[in-house]
């Protein structure tokens, strides 16, 4: 069964066309990540699914039912917001229980579900505190707890980790992944961070300017991007695009090589000068200006003695490279 099905969904704010013909299916139990640069419409799409914005056209089905005119509370969804959005005047417990109370669930059901969620998220000792007395990470867990207790058909996450610091972000990311395994629930997760997308998703949806650019598993998108935008968006450091530096490349075409597929070799195809070195311990990133004036990143595994100003030759395996035409679309026959 499909948890969510979008058919030709469009959304306009006045003359601004934000979402353009979105078609998408989310299977039961699937973790889907919407990713894209800011302003691409990913949050709007999530709000349309939640019912916080009406779609201008198209149909939205959740669990098989058309929900276009169903209010958010009755869609069987729960949402976690970037700013946590906890009710400031309620305790942690009441924050989590409010949705169920509004549904008219009996008190013992509310209590049981809230206790279960608090236990799962390790929030039991904070039950009587107010949001203002909690740290950022705890607040986000309360927000997640508020979503869990409703036992929704579909979880929606709107950039839930953006307000957390780096260490906490990593921990919470792992917690969300574990939560997904435990609950086996369908989840949609919006982020602009490609690491979150790669690590959490069963399926990534890359959006640009209100259109879906490509849908696929993280490794599919990494190994087989449909166009230059997707290729550049996933992977860190991002892919190098060269037009002039590689000998034998037809005019108008661009070659894309991931930094990790480049290496220092005596017989390398590209000649250049190191302009900057980033030593990360495990990796060393070299910024190289090629003889033709293009800048590229070379990612070397382990530590490397190369210094700024060194002249180096960089080589790559043509099988690992991607070719794009002038319209930035992938040219498939030349690959591999």
């Amino acid at each position: 069964m499909t948890a969510l099905k979008l058919e030709n969904v469009n959304k306009s704010f006045g003359p601004v066309h934000v979402l353009k013909d979105i078609n998408l299916e989310v299977e039961d139990g699937e973790f889907v990540v919407f990713v894209g640069p800011s302003g691409c419409g990913k949050s709007t799409l999530l709000r349309v699914i939640a019912g916080l914005e009406d779609a201008s056209s198209g149909t939205i089905r959740i669990g098989g039912e058309v929900v276009n005119s169903v209010p958010p509370a009755k869609r069987g969804i729960a949402m976690v917001f970037q700013s946590y959005a906890l009710y400031p005047h309620l305790t942690v417990r009441d924050n989590m229980g409010l949705g169920l109370k509004q549904e008219g669930q009996p008190k013992d059901v509310v209590d049981a579900r809230v206790s279960k969620a608090s236990k799962m998220l390790d929030l039991e000792q904070y039950a009587q505190r107010r949001p203002a007395e909690l740290s950022g990470g705890q607040r986000q867990r309360v927000a997640i707890g508020r979503a869990i207790v409703r036992e929704p058909k579909l979880f929606l996450f709107d950039e839930p980790l953006s307000n957390l610091d780096a260490a906490l972000r990593m921990n919470t990311r792992v917690e969300i992944a574990e939560l997904h395994r435990t609950l086996a629930a369908s989840m949609i997760y919006v982020t602009h961070d490609q690491i979150e997308a790669m690590t959490l998703a069963d399926k990534i949806v890359v959006l640009r300017d209100g259109r879906i650019e490509q849908v696929g598993s993280p490794m599919e998108l990494y190994n087989n991007p449909a166009n230059r935008f997707v290729a550049s968006f996933l992977g860190s450091p991002s892919m190098n695009f060269l037009e002039r530096s590689v000998p034998g490349l037809p005019a108008g075409q661009t070659i894309g090589i991931r930094p990790e597929h480049l290496g220092l070799r005596e017989d390398g195809q590209i000649f250049g000068k190191v302009t900057h070195v980033e030593r990360l311990g495990g990796d060393t990133n070299l910024l190289v200006q090629t003889g033709q004036g293009e800048i590229m990143t070379v990612r070397l595994f382990g530590q490397d003695p190369t210094e700024v100003g060194d002249e180096i030759r960089v080589g790559f395996d043509p099988a690992c490279a991607f070719y794009f035409d002038a319209q930035q679309e992938r040219i498939f026959q030349q690959a591999a």
Binding site: G51, P71, A73, M79, Y84, Y87, L98
Partner: protein
Amino acid sequence: MTKARSSLSTKTTMHAVLIVYTIIALFPVFVILINSFKSRRAIFRDPLGLPNEETFSLIGYQTVLKQGDFFLYFQNSMIVTVVSLALILLFGAMAAFALAEYRFKGNTLMGLYLALGIMIPIRIGTVAILEMMVSTGLVNTLTALILVYTAQGLPLAVFILSEFMKGVSDDLKNAGRIDGLSEYKIFFRLVLPLVRPAMATVAVFNMIPIWNDLWFPLILAPAEEVKTLTLGSQVFIGQFVTDWNAVLSALSMAILPVMILYVIFSRQLIRGITSGAVK
């Protein structure tokens, strides 16, 4: 305070300026208060002197309490002020919520239209208002005053509150919607508590002019049983003879309720006024 941010001299100057200003602002109130406790002769002989054994007199308060229905006036003023404030806050906040929260055609235009009331004094329409009140039979009722004061207070209330409501996080309101709260509950339970400082600001800004107003009570409700305190105090001011003891005593007593309300609201008020600048 750390040394880096303030030196002794700037601090002294700052306080000196503030103290001078406080003295200037409080001086008239002080003069009213001391003179209300003096005999008539002492008021004229030495208007700035403190009451002493010789000049101390409660004659003014006695006159006020004996003559006229001072408590009735007091009650009228209280009813008019409190009901008007309640209506201004309720309707002002509701209109502000609609303007801040919902996208509809003419939203900006509506906001501007409501703000227009800030720039046009309501007293320009006094004749029309009086005619309206006469034809609806509301002359000489407290309702007339309440309606006028509500209309007078709404523009500023809507203007201030809608700015504050735009600042309430959208996510919070959306979280409420997903949890199944109705728009009314979102308004009363989530948004109103968060704009409480702004509400206090609006309340204080509206309270004082309403309490002190002489114009509309004089025109719309001059009858004995609906007189407000300010209007009631006027009986002691005659064209040829003025009972200064009584006037000063009445005014001193009229200050009290406003002061009490101000003390209640002041913490919220200060937060309301400064939150825009500091945060």
